[in-house]
Each structure stands twice: as C-alpha cells, then as structure tokens.
C-alpha cells in the first residue's frame, strides 16, 4: 500500500536555483567565454539634444587591438528601427529609432558610435579616439512643458511632442460631480526611476558561418519575444536566430525590452563573422537602460459627505522619454483600469497623453502602470478621509466591494473574480495594533513632540497575469498573452518540464517542479525545469507582469493533467481495466476495488518508451503540451499599513513598522511568495523615500552612479511583518494569483500616506516623491506651502 505523498503545492521548499547562485556557479551572460570573442564598446552622447555634424572613427581604428568601428550612418540600413509593439491609440506617433543615432542625438546616453576590439580594455580606450561634432539643439526636459506652444521638438519631423491621446469613460462623471458634496482635486508626480537590476545588461552573439545561424545570449526577460523582434528588425530569418537567456540577475521590467545593443551585437557579429560581447557598466545602465514611471497625475474624486465615492476623473501626462521602446505607450494605460481600485462608484473618466522629452526612454518598471494608479487612488482616499474627518480605514470600508459581491465588475470594466478586503484588512489592523498607534500619534501631537508619528494605509488590488490575448488585441498590442508548457516523462521516470516563462529571480524551477510533482505524483527532486532558450523551449511569451505562475504555471499544471490522461489509457490497457475504473493517486494507477493491481506513472512511461504493448492506435508517447490563453486577469489584493516617525527638525523619516496582509490566492511556495513581497515592498519604499533620476538643466543625468542614485539596502529598510489571507482565484484551476509586483504596487502609497499623515497637523497635504528629508524640512518652513 502506498503512503500518501505530501503535497508539494503549498510547501515552503528551499529553491532549487539557490545553490548554484549563492556559490557563484552562475552562468551570467558576461561569464560566457568563446574562442575569438571580440568586445563592443559604445560611445554615448554627452548631450541631451544635438545635431550630429560629423562622426569620425578613423583615429579609433588606429588604436591597438581595434578591429572595427562604426558610426550610426555606417550601419543604419542593416540595423533598422527599434520596435514599439504597443501603439495604444489611433495615430500614435511612432518616431524612427535607430540603434545608433544617425542625424540627431535625443538624450544624454543615446549611442553615436561603436568600437569593436580584441578585449574590453582596448575597446574602452578606443572610444576616446572617436571624434564627434555636435551642434546643440534646444531641449525639452519637463513633461509639463513638453506640449507648450513654443516647446522645442524632440522629433522635429513629427511636428509635435504629443505621442498619443488615450481616453476611456464609463458613467457620467460630470453628473456625479454635480451631485457631490466634496470634490477633491490633486496633482501627484511619479518621479523618474532607474530600475537597477543587480546584473546589468549583457549580450553575446556567436555566429555559425557554415549555416548562417546566430546564437544570441542576453540578460533578458524575453528570449522568445526578442527572437521574433530581432528577426523583424534586422531581416535575419527568425529560424536562423536562437536566443538564450542564461542566468539573469533581475529585470523588474528593464529587461522586458528589445535593446539597441542586442541589435548592434547581432548585426555586427554577422558583418564581422566573429563572436561579440557587450556588457554595460552600472553608470551606463543608469543612462541607457530604460527608466520607469515619470508621470504627472491629475486626479479628481467626487464624494458625498458620508464618504460615498460617486466618481473619479484621472488625467495623465506620461513621459515616453526620447523614443518609444517596446511597450512605452502602453505602460500608463496598463493602469487605466485600476484607478477605481477596490471601490464602487458610478462614474469614471480616464485620459492619458503621452509626450516625448529629451531623456532616457521610459518603459516597464515593476508594476508598470498599476503602481501609479494605486498610488493616486490610495493617496486621494487618505486625503478624502482627512477632508471628511473620517478614519482612513473607515472611508475605505464604506466604499470597497464586499466579499459577498464577487465576482464584481468595476466601473473601469474589469471583472474581479474573488477577494476579501474585509478579512485582509482586519488581520492587518490587528497585527499592526492600529488603535494603539493612533493613540500614540495623538499623544505626540498633544506634547508638540519634535518627532511625529504618521500612519499610512494602502488597500490595494491590481490586475496582473498578462494577459488575455483578446484583451491585448483590443488594446492594440501587437502580440498575444498565452503561455506554453511541455512535459516529458523520460524512460527512467524522470520528468522534464519545458516552460515558455523566462525566470530571472522568480524561482520558477522550484515552483513548476512543485506543480508538476503534485499532478504527476513524482518526487519533487525528479523534476527538471528547462527554460530561457528558444532551442530548448521554443514556444513562449516570457516573464513580466506577474504572469508566470497564473499563465505559465497553470499551463504546466494543464500539460501535466494531459500526461496523466494519456498515461491512464496505457495503464488501463496494461492492467486490463477500463479507464473509468482506475484511480490515480501518489503517482500510481490502481484498479478500483483491487488496489494490488497497480502501475506507477514511471512504469507507464517505460512501457510507453518500449511500446511493445500499447492500446491499438495510440501514439507511443505520454508527453504533452499545453498552451494556455488566460480568460481574464489575476487580481491579488491586500492591506498594507505603515507607521513612520518624522523628525520635524531634520525632515528625516524612519519607517518604524510595516505590516502587510496580502491575498495572492492559493500559494505554491510560501517562501517564494514571502521573497517576492519583501523585494517588492523594498522597491516600493525606494520610490516613496529614496530613488529619483535627477537631471540638470541641460539634461545631463546627475544620478549616474549608485553613489548618487540611492537604492536602499537592508539597513535602510524596516522589518516587514507579513501575513496572508487566502481567497482562491476562480479564474484558474490552481486558484493562484500573481505576486511579483504586488508589494511594489501596495507599499509606495502606504509610506507616503504615513509621511503626510504625520505632517497634516502642520498643514502639509503632500510631499513629492521621493519624500526626502530636505523636501519635508522645506514643507515645514513657516510660510511655505507644501510642495504640492
């Protein structure tokens, strides 16, 4: 009799990936060594906007070890224009985007020339010999002035800095506003952020002269999408390109991209017939890896005196930077459905205008559109509570969707399948000791303490699990949102899971092993997960938007179920029983009523391999594929509570306690969920308090290194007290919801709300992010209006 195997899903398994990562046995792209490898270095514009009058690489060619050097014009034809896959609105302005600038540079960091040399030292030295003459052009740096009548144009051939206008409405906002007792209008600023993945970008291309094939290794989140778009961009046939994402050290959206450097490396490897490597430095990454956020958000909320929200109006100016990258126009639109958040209301207006500026292009950064939405709605809900004299939690409770109302279609048209905001909030309040902290806050006010306490609330939800292909089509996105999985049960009983997701820190090898082990009834250790190589895992849509588990993990689950279904036919045949009479448990088929007649799935796999005795007409394989297109999004939610101490003498903020209760549905691996939340909250706090890409008046990046761009580390962050509620998703058979971005989305408004809450007695109602000590000190100076 078999013992019951402990279920894998739900177990806090240590990650299979970690041993090689923490012992340095890693295969980063920069570690790849190939015979005859040449090294690329890229000369970048020192100016934010200039005409290129002359590029002369001849002196660089004279330098020792230099093999080749090219200006943008030399290679423009072969390199094409970098792709943008998301023209969100009709008439979206799509400027030409050469990987190396030809006539004009449009941001400080725009490539102007490339040098190829025998080693990276020679390449770096030779850059100094490239001569470039520039004529400076006027710049447009600020989002808010980009559409001014006399604003300089980033792309003069387009005649405008306006990239697109996007609108969506439901209900009659004007009528809602007319009925309201209170209308609050706010302008929030999402600062520009630098994603700062631990591993900077790197690319290696190895050409195979005999067959005209190219293998491109890249520190990318999207090997599959990249392969398609490299083919489209360069004209090299897709079936001659293999893309490999080896160990990838984080991305946070910054590697959800088709980068010029990838195209440059591919085209030059082809032209030179030699393998090439390019690895960026950290300061190059700060300039030239795409940035995130950078929006001006105008938001207006209309409510009754009792706190009932009647309607919401949102109007965004979204910075595209100098060019459109893969998803640039779509990023703010990913937030369009999420401003109403968890609240019921009768009217909603959303509009967004994308604008070009002379700064590094903007694209996805952890959360991509939803953190902006959650920030704005959660900030204004706190402000509305203050305006109405209500408790911030009570106001939310008054407006949110009650758990018995699910599934619920919001005013923005999203149907949330499940959720329980009451349960998560009650649990969080208890963990946080909310009432006691409120009492301490009042006490400090009474004593005119120089250190004030602030309490911030964020009851967020988000939409993730990108995405139903049909929805993407309606949104004018060029591709679909499905995910593929294949399962092979080998003759020895070991299992290979081939996934189209492309992990770069998320632990898919562990989680997918757990899922497959449960369905197939095989040991966790017997499952191998293969990914990130278009030769090995040819079919995929990669990893971003908290999609991997809810789309790709569910695809693994479904493929495994197909394997069991096929195996059942073989087992029934071998056991001389009807399929319907077979039980399958703990990895073995047995005949109902006579449990001694049994075949393990490994035995079935071997019998299928041998194929001596299969059912008539059956193919000799129990392997199976599944491609899953999600029917809807995933809607994790939770309640985050933050207490900060603000030193009113210096403006310093100390995060004293941080509590979150998240509901990500069923949990496959609690350790991984915990890790995602910790990292996510850290990045959200980073936006609230620390990080900002700062430019001078000429458009030079001042935060070009990690000494200036402050990424907080462990000593700068509080202990996170995390807990969960578990309301299973009804949209997939595992009941799971995405978790990759939840912490980031939730935490930023919780922290800023706490800072503002501490300062409200001084008449402060907003502090621009990051809430630096100096900004807080400025806001507290007598006679100064808060920086809103």
């Amino acid at each position: 009799m078999s013992e019951t195997v402990e279920r894998e899903v739900g177990r806090a398994r240590a990650r299979k990936e970690d041993a090689h990562l923490i012992t340095g046995q890693t295969n980063w792209t920069d570690n790849i060594a190939v015979n005859g490898l040449l090294h690329l270095a890229i000369l970048r514009s020192p100016m934010a906007h200039a005409r290129i009058d002359r590029v002369d690489v001849s002196a660089a060619l004279e330098r020792p070890g230099v093999i080749a050097a090219f200006s943008g014009r030399d290679v423009a034809e072969a390199m094409g224009s970098l792709p943008c896959a998301w023209p969100v609105a009709e008439g979206t302005v799509m400027p030409d985007h050469p990987p190396i600038a030809v006539d004009e540079v449009r941001y400080a960091g725009d490539p102007v020339a490339v040098v190829v040399a025998r080693d990276r030292y020679a390449a770096a030295d030779a850059l100094e010999a490239v001569e470039v003459d520039y004529t400076p052009l006027p710049t447009v740096l600020e989002i808010e002035s980009a559409l001014d009548e006399n604003a300089p144009l980033v792309h003069s051939d387009k005649g405008t800095n306006r990239c697109y206008d996007y609108r969506t409405t439901d209900g009659d906002y004007a009528a809602a506003k007319a009925r309201a007792d209170v209308v609050l209008t706010r302008r929030y600023h999402q600062q520009r952020l630098i994603p700062s993945a631990m591993e900077p970008r790197a690319v290696v291309v190895t050409p195979l002269a005999a067959s005209g094939e190219f293998t491109l290794y890249s520190s990318t989140q999207i090997p599959h999408v990249l392969r398609v778009l490299l083919a489209v961009t360069t004209g090299i046939p897709e079936n001659k390109i293999r893309v490999v994402a080896p160990d990838v050290g984080g991305g946070f959206g910054s590697k959800l991209q088709v980068y010029g450097e990838e195209v440059i490396a591919l085209v030059l490897a082809k032209r030179l017939g030699r393998p090439l490597k390019w690895t960026e430095s950290r300061s190059e990454a700060n300039l030239a890896t795409h940035h995130g956020r950078s929006q001006v958000q105008d938001i207006e909320i209309a409510a009754r005196r009792d706190g009932t929200v009647l309607g919401l109006k949102v109007s965004l100016l979204a910075d595209m930077g100098a060019y459109l990258m893969l998803l640039s126009p779509g990023i703010p639109i990913l937030g369009a459905s999420m401003y109403p958040a968890i609240y019921k209301m009768g009217a909603y207006e959303f509009s967004c205008t994308g604008v070009f500026t002379n700064r590094t292009p903007i694209d996805a950064y952890r959360g991509a559109g939803r953190p902006e939405a959650t920030f704005a709605i959660e900030r204004i809900m706190d402000d509305l509570a203050a305006e109405l004299g209500m408790d911030a939690i009570d106001l939310r409770r008054h407006n949110w969707i009650r758990h018995e109302e699910f599934p619920y279609t919001t005013i923005a048209g999203m149907t949330y399948d499940s959720g329980n905001y009451e349960a998560a909030t009650d649990k969080a309040l208890a963990l946080f000791d909310y009432d006691k902290l409120r009492a301490e806050q009042a006490d400090r006010i009474d004593h005119a303490d120089t250190v004030r306490l602030g309490i911030g609330v964020s009851t967020y939800t988000e939409m993730c699990g990108l995405a139903p292909s049909r929805w993407l089509g309606e949104m004018r996105y060029a591709a679909g949102g499905w995910e593929a999985a294949s399962i092979r049960v080998l003759p020895t009983g070991k299992v290979e899971v081939i996934t189209g997701t492309s992990p770069h820190g998320q632990g898919h090898v562990t989680s997918w092993s757990q899922i497959a082990a449960d369905v197939l009834g095989v040991p966790f250790e017997d499952v191998e997960v293969m990914h990130g190589d278009t030769l090995l895992a040819p079919h995929g849509m990669d990893t971003y938007g908290s999609r991997s588990l809810v789309v790709g993990g569910v695809a693994v689950h479904e493929a495994a179920r197909k394997v069991v279904d096929k195996a059942r036919k073989v087992a029934a045949h071998l056991l001389e029983a009807n399929e319907a009479d077979l039980d399958f448990a703990d990895g073995a088929f047995s005949v109902k009523g006579s449990p001694e007649a049994r075949k393990t799935i490994q035995e079935v796999a071997f019998a299928t391999f041998a194929s001596h005795d299969l059912p008539d007409g059956m193919e000799p394989s129990i392997n199976a594929d599944h491609v899953l297109d999600p029917e809807t999004f995933s809607f994790p939610h939770g309640t985050h509570l933050c207490a900060v101490e603000v030193d009113t003498e210096t403006g310093a903020v100390h995060v004293r306690s941080y509590v979150c209760v998240d509901d990500v549905g069923k949990v496959v691996n609690p350790l991984i969920v915990e890790g995602q939340l910790h990292g996510g909250i850290a990045q959200g706090i980073a936006q609230a308090l620390y990080e900002e890409a700062v430019y001078d008046e000429e458009g030079n990046l001042l935060t070009g290194t990690l000494a200036d761009y402050l990424v907080p580390a462990a000593p700068d962050l509080p202990e996170f007290l995390t807990d969960r509620t578990e309301t299973p998703a009804t949209s997939n058979p595992l009941g799971v919801k995405g978790v990759g971005e939840a912490g980031t989305i939730a935490s930023t408004p919780a922290v800023v709300n706490a800072v503002v809450d501490a300062l409200r007695p001084f008449g402060v109602r907003d502090i621009r992010m990051p809430c630096t000590p100096e900004r807080i000190w400025q806001a507290l100076q007598p006679g100064k209006e808060a920086s809103a």
């Binding site: 030292y121 030295d125 000190w777």
Partner: protein, 284 residues
C-alpha cells in the same frame, strides 16, 4: 567601467615606496585601500601612469601609544581602527565615526590614511581628526615632517602633502575623560553624510569647559565650527547648548548638490551640532 592602463608597483617599505613614486615621475600615485582612487580610475576621471600600492608595507599598519598620543599607521584599515582596543579606550570619537563609514566591505579595505589624504570634505574622518586636533606625519625625499590637521586640509581634495610625500602616520591626542559624539546625517546607510558633526566635550563642574566641533561636508574642506565652539564654552544647560549651536554654520560654505542645498546643510549643521554636543556633554 574600465580604467585606462597604468603601471603598478608594490614596495615593501616606506623608503622604497617614496623612492618608487619619485622615480615614477609626475603621474605616479600612491594607492592605499582603493576606495576612492579606484572609482576615479574606473570613471576615467584620473589617469595616473603608475600606481604605487601601499598594501604590503607593514610599517604603515597598526596602532601604538606614544605618551599622551595615539599613533595610527596610515594604512590601518577602518575595520582595524574601529576594533582596536587603544582607539576604543583613548579615541572613542574616532572609533564611533569610523563605525559609520560605508559598509563592512569598504571598512575592510579602506584605510584611515587613505581617507585623510583623499581629503573629501564629505568623508567622515577628516572632520574627526580635525576636531581631535590630530597631526599628520609625512615622509618624502626631503625627510619627515609633522603637519597639524588644521593645516593639512587645503581645499577640495587637496592637502598640504607635497606630490612626492607619503602620509605615514596619524597622531591623535588621547581624549580620555572627554565626551564625544559623531552625528552623521545621511539618507542611506552606505552614503556619505549630507552633513556630519564630530563633537568632543570636556566638562568641568557641570558646565562645558571646552568643546571642539568638526564639520563634514560644510565646505570645500572639513571645518571647525569655531564660533559655536567659543559660544559653547561655559554652557551649563541644554538651552545654552542649543543657543550656541545656532552658530554652527557660521563661516561655512556648503555646496549645492543632489543631496542637499546650502540652506538645508546649514540648518542640519545647527541641529546636529546641538544634538552631538548634548550627547557628548551627557546633557541629552
């Protein structure tokens, strides 16, 4: 980032180091712990032709007593300074400030002498040695000389060391019986101070007999808050300290950069001086 090419030498004595540098011509540089120089090389802001690595010169390391003075070898790492029993007993301010330098990795490589010779006004230790009335001992082709800390820091990243001189020792008077506090204000643990205040206070009969206040990042060199020091003399209660601390930014010229405006830095200098002196005086 990739530094330009340079020659490299690793002497094993002070004499050899000084000779090697002199022979290396104008573009030769000493390399101490590398925590400031290597970033400059990698960002191609410095182009030395020869680096003379001091990492294997044993006589430059270690802490010893010389009567009322502690003598600290210039190549003693922050880690060793911080954990040295003599430093902890007789120069608590130096130990406390060193504990705030960057992170453990940096403190294991960076050296006291390197940080003083680099003379970054945003560094923690220049202001500390200045507040302690320390002395710097230099050796060059023309011999050995002692430079008071007050004369050592000349301008932004510039010291009184001649180009061919090597800083070999840091001498600080023992401050047994003095109260001390280093107040460092920075946004993340690894960052330089926006403003740092190093306070030493000697109390006598309930009032402050003498206060020395060193300021980090309040000008192109580390500074002493002279006006505040004077005003602190005789202060016997927190209000008097607070009033005296209002003078802390007097005579300073703090910079404008991404981490703060001059006005904010001046404000911080006043607040932090108040806090540091109160703590050092045991009045906090």
């Amino acid at each position: 980032m990739i530094p330009p090419a340079f020659e490299y030498a690793r002497p094993s004595s002070v004499d050899e180091a000084v000779r090697t540098l002199a022979d290396g011509g104008e573009d030769a540089k000493f390399l101490a712990g590398g925590q400031s120089l290597l970033p400059l090389l990698r960002m191609r802001l410095a182009f030395p032709e020869l680096l003379v690595d001091l990492g294997r010169v044993p006589e430059l390391r270690g802490v010893r007593e010389d009567d009322g003075t502690l003598v600290i070898g210039a190549m003693t790492t922050h880690h060793h300074v911080l954990h040295d029993p003599l430093v902890r007993r007789h120069a608590g301010l130096l130990a406390a400030a060193t504990a705030t330098v960057a992170d453990p990795a940096v403190r294991h490589r960076g050296t006291l002498g390197g940080s003083l010779a680099h003379a970054d006004p945003a560094g923690d230790l220049p202001a500390v040695v200045l507040a302690m009335d320390g002395e710097l001992v230099a050796v060059g082709p023309r011999g050995r000389r002692v430079i008071p800390a007050r004369e050592f820091f000349v301008d932004y990243l510039q010291t009184a060391l001649a180009p061919d001189e090597l800083l070999v020792e840091v001498r600080v008077p023992k401050t047994d019986g003095w109260g001390f506090k280093y107040e460092k204000f920075h946004r993340v643990a690894q960052a330089w101070p926006i403003v740092g205040v190093a306070a030493l206070v000697r109390r006598d009969d309930g009032h402050i007999a003498e206060a020395r206040v060193g300021l980090s990042n309040m000008g192109s060199t580390p500074l002493r808050a002279a006006t505040a020091e004077e005003a602190l003399s005789g202060a016997s209660d927190p209000d008097a300290v607070a009033r005296a601390a209002e003078e802390a930014a007097d005579g300073t010229r703090p910079a404008q950069d991404t981490s703060g405006s001059p006005e904010y830095r001046a404000h911080l200098a006043r607040v932090l001086t108040k806090r540091a002196v109160l703590a050092a005086a045991g009045m906090g």
